[in-house]
Amino acid sequence: MDYLLTEFQQEIRDLAWEIARDKVMPVAQELDEKNEFPHEIMKILAQSDFFRLFVPEEYGGLVENGKGMLELCLVTEQLARACGGVAVTYAATALGIFPIILYGNEEQKKKYLPRVAEGTLAAFAVTEPSAGSDISAIQTTARKEGDYYVLNGTKHFITNGGEADIYVVIAMTNKAKGPRGASAFIVEKGTPGFEFGKKEDKMGIRASATRELIFNECKVPKENLLGREGMGFIITLKTFDMSRPGVAAQALGIAQGAFDLALDYVRKREQFGRPISSFQGIQWMLADMATKIEAARALVYSVARMADAGHTDIAKESAMAKMFASDVAMEVTTDAVQLFGGYGYMKEYPVEKFMRDAKITQIYEGTNQIQRNVIAQHLIKEALK
């Protein structure tokens, strides 16, 4: 399929793939096994300017303000073909700074974005033990004291937790107001009272760091408030609208990576005296897998282009892309394991990792059930117009 990418976009995609193939693939299994964070790979991505793709030009980036979504998706997809964990580590930094790009003031942008352009990792911290899909249940508080906000509470399941230097944290400045009482703060690693808790031992994307953030009387300068008090909920929603295409691209890459392995395998694997790719049952599976992947890609790239074209309300479309691509990732990786037969179930072969990595894409950044809610709500709202 020709997605009419510009020459620069093609170069971005190709270079990202070269790095994925040459630098990520050889270590993917080891990172997965050891639950090891890919510091070296992040350094390479930074050196190759990939962190500049989600930073506007005036802050050391390579894209026009408000653009770069498609580029981010292209890179995340290619990285995920080699390792879903590496891909999400990269994309989560974009997620971490979207709130600053969208709602930060000039000082905040000047202070943080150039660092990210150079390769400093970022993270976005919303989820809490009892506030997953339900953001209004957030318990972390921020109380104003003079020139500071004092944060207390615990975030968990935070991608890039412990590894990132820049965090955007959602905390309640006024609990009585419910969702309207949430605010967003930029918190730097090393701020007194900000510590890291448990590192999660995950089923998949094990190269990525998922960790608890603990705030204990953590004093954050009031300049670090993003937007105004009470904007935390809207910042979260808008950020997720922007970040869902990235997760969708990660899912797409995982599906493509598993499919590549499976296609290669069935052409080589012989049974009954011929390659199993000559059996029609196998051929039909391949055809279905490839078609689903292509459909997911079309959806993901389209929503990324909408974002780049300046559409501000892409909630429905980005939910569709995230939901569809992640469901496709799960189906395709499951089928890929099936095509490998017994070998597919063994850790010695790389394909089972893709199946484990795929699962999270149906869960995080809003479960696929929540995505369906979002889509349906928009459909009904649109019908009322």
């Binding site: 050889p26 080891e30 080589k268 010695e348």
Partner: protein
Amino acid sequence: MLKIDRNKCVGCKACVQVCPFGALHIDEEKKAVVDPAVCTLCGACVEVCKFDAMEIIREEGPRDKFEDWRGVWVFAEQKENKVQPVVFELLGKARELADKLNTYVGAVLLGENVKDQVEELIYRGADNVYLVEDSSLRHFVDEEYASILTRLIKKYRPEIVLSGATAIGRALVSRVAVQLQAGLTADCTGLDVDPETRNLLQTRPAFGGNIMATIITPRHRPQMATVRHKVFPEAKRDEARKGEVIVERVEEGDLDVRSKVLEVVKEVTSTVNLSEADIIVSGGRGLRGPENFKLLEELAEVLGAAVGASRAAVDAGWIPYSHQVGQTGKTVCPKLYIAVGISGQIQHLVGMQSSKCIVAINNDPSAPIFSVAHYGIVGDLFEVVPALTKAFKKALGK
């Protein structure tokens, strides 16, 4: 230049396919055309053309007889005052060439305290040994060694100078050849002479051993070559042989203060040096982890072999780079090469495919390593290797 006879050319593309440098293409008139900027005049197209359409035309000046250049020399590389085994291989070949040319064999020995090695060089076939001893020659210093060797060659005018294609040999004679404006051919695996022209016919692998090239140096003397280890048999030792020792000195102009060796560090973990080894047992990704190299070490110990590795194993950090065989590692040609759990990427094959006997052990029958192997075992290396170690132990009475 390469001349293509357009009347004879039928556009069959045989030459295009065979050109190692991509210098040929077929034009709109279905005739072969050469890009002279890319063509190296290697002659591959001439060989393959069935229609006699290709011809290489060389500008030949009047041929010098080089009557004042005689003798076949060997650079007698030593380390810690001990002549290296490759030198004995070179002496064997040098003797053979010198006999064909009806001339003498010379060996050049430079070092700090190497006098006691002279006899051995004579026993192995040298007629003349040129000995230079000096404390400044304790370690190999490129510039000083090159200066002395260049001076000696200018003085004694050997027609052929051979050196091992070792780290030292390659660095040294590259310098000497430029100082003498001599021809130098690297890494030869075959040497012969044409008694009539007295040209040295130097055959060497190119493109990682996928093709062989024969090279001559018709208009210059001396003719210099570095030679791979283990290609030629060592010269037989004959204690009855007599020879002459010519003692030379370091001159002031030889000394070069610009570089010096501060320290010599040894770090090869296995006892046997890969390039010198007669037998190599190599492991790849199939070993699954560093701990399993133990299996190979056990087998290597029984065989007195060195342990090698594929790039995949080295990149995974299972074994140091000094053990790597292949394009970005060492090129080896032992008598026996046992590849265990190595799939056989072309980059690995180019480093070992000239081994005399290759054994492949791999659980994947379609692994490319089997295409170069003389003997193959398709099976689980974790079962086969221990069984092999046991069988060798029994057979060798160890």
